[in-house]
Amino acid sequence: MAQNTPMTEAMYYLLLALTRPAHGYRLMQQVNEASGGRVSMGPGTLYGLLSKMEKDGMIQLQQQDERRKTYALTPLGRNVLKQEFERLQMLVNDGKKAQVEQL
């Protein structure tokens, strides 16, 4: 996915969870925690996204033992996450200016 295209909710939360290096199963829990239980990630989605993000250079393998791989954000990944965060923040700010909360 290009850096300037809005990312899916799953991708955003996965990058968010990866601010602390973690392995696959732990990541599922972190996503769940980070979203306050709102977003749960299935293994199919998680495995696919990890493979894609690793291929795109947003995350990298930090540690690998026999059973599990631990991933961490790359500088590119951090940058993408930051951009997405700013984009979301702008959206919220614009909403606030329009007093959407009072609708």
Partner: protein, 394 residues
């Protein structure tokens, strides 16, 4: 362990397959292996299981070990390969395998591309083979020169070996149809993944349609094969018992008549008589001798065929009249001799009369070296020869 086999559902029918396998598990049948035609189930205690199909990165390849381990750790066990997918199962209550519609949609796009490529490929094949088929048709028709398409259809079908090309085209058409169905069905599934509401057949309805369609096509296919076998034109030599019939394909029908059963006199000038294949017993057998005033046999050429297939004798006689004649015999309109179904006559030449008659499944074509005044005599004698043979039953 006892095994049970069921017909495999189409590879593209994702939700239907998942539902079908879960239903079978509730009946104590657990999918073990999915083949192109059959799926193997093992018997066990009924269980509530979830089945999910995960798009395979490349068709027919097993999943990576790392992926398997990860899925296992989350409660999803690999079952088998399933065409474009890998089949996983989990205990009821386990989380979903895919939770992000956008990402799942992305993983399914290569499958859609494969299905689309198959559809395009089948379409191109249909166009290619139809073009080839009809080019052959027109080229063959063109060689005959004075024949029109409608007149030569039956002969052409035999001449170009109709059966195999027709079957080939039928198979490719079936492939085109199933590819289109797969493309449509999978597009619907993609829409449902993206959250669009679609109306879908129930599993029972889907199974009924699938098996019904398969049986319908099997019946059509078998009927077509039987029909084509019956339609394959054959000629048999006159005077031989059915058990010893020599079957000749009309594709062997050539102007020089060397493959037809009968005799051909090459003309009075040379005095030669060419005896081909089996001597024609028709006229001689019944002591029907035609001779001119000098006692010479006046035949330039003669052809006799007996149709044993369901070809229309009138149509074949019409084609033979044009195909084998030097002139252009026209249908005889006045009352025909008894027992004769149709007759074609050309008496426009001063030295040659051409007659083609059909009686039942027998057709006789004669070129007589004589003038127009002999036409009625030739017609009468040829009719007599043909009907006498019909009556004799040989």
């Amino acid at each position: 362990m006892k095994h049970v086999y069921r017909f495999s559902l189409p590879g593209w029918a994702v939700p239907q397959q998942e539902e079908f396998y879960a239903l079978m598990a509730r009946r104590g049948l657990f999918v073990e292996k999915r083949g192109f035609l059959l799926t193997r189930f093992s018997k066990g205690d009924p269980a509530e299981l979830l089945y999910r199909l995960d798009a395979a990165p490349s068709r027919g390849q097993p999943p990576e070990e790392e992926r398997l381990q990860f899925y296992e750790s989350c409660g999803w066990h690999f079952v088998c390969k399933a065409d474009y997918f890998h089949l996983y199962c989990a205990e009821k209550g386990a989380g979903e395998l895919h939770t992000d519609a956008a990402w799942q949609n992305e993983t399914l796009l290569p499958v859609r591309k494969s299905l689309r490529d198959e559809l395009i490929g089948a379409g191109v094949q249909v166009v290619f083979w139809l073009l080839l088929f009809f080019l052959n048709f027109w080229v063959n028709g063109g060689i005959r020169g004075d024949l029109t398409v409608s007149e030569t259809t039956v002969l052409f079908l035999a001449q170009c070996g109709f059966v195999l090309p027709a079957l080939l085209i039928l198979l490719i058409l079936l492939k085109l149809f199933t590819s289109a169905l797969a493309m449509h069905g999978f597009a619907n599934y993609l829409r449902s993944v993206r959250g669009e509401k679609i109306t879908r057949l129930s599993l029972r309805g889907f199974l009924f349609c699938e098996y019904g369609t398969a049986m319908f096509y099997a019946a059509v296919f078998l009927t077509l094969i039987c029909t084509l076998i019956l339609l394959t034109p054959r000629t048999v030599p006159m005077g031989q018992e059915p058990s010893s019939q020599v079957l000749l394909r009309l594709e062997q029908l050539e102007p020089n008549a060397t493959v037809l059963q009968g005799t051909g006199s090459l003309g009075q000038e040379s005095g030669q008589t060419e005896v081909v294949d089996v001597p024609l017993a028709s006229l001689q057998l019944h002591n029907l001798q035609l001779s001119d005033t000098n006692g010479n046999t006046p035949w330039l050429d003669q052809h006799y065929i007996q149709l044993s297939g369901p070809l229309d004798p009138v149509l074949v006689a019409q084609s033979m009249a044009k195909y084998l004649s030097l002139g252009d015999p026209l249908p005889v309109k006045e009352p025909l001799p008894a027992g004769i179904d149709c007759a074609f006559l050309d008496d426009s030449r001063t030295d040659l009369i051409e007659v083609c008659l059909a009686s039942g499944n027998r057709i006789l074509h004669i070129q007589y070296l004589g003038s127009a005044s002999d036409a009625q005599t030739v017609m009468a004698l040829a009719s007599q020869a043909l009907t006498e043979n019909s009556k004799s039953g040989v």
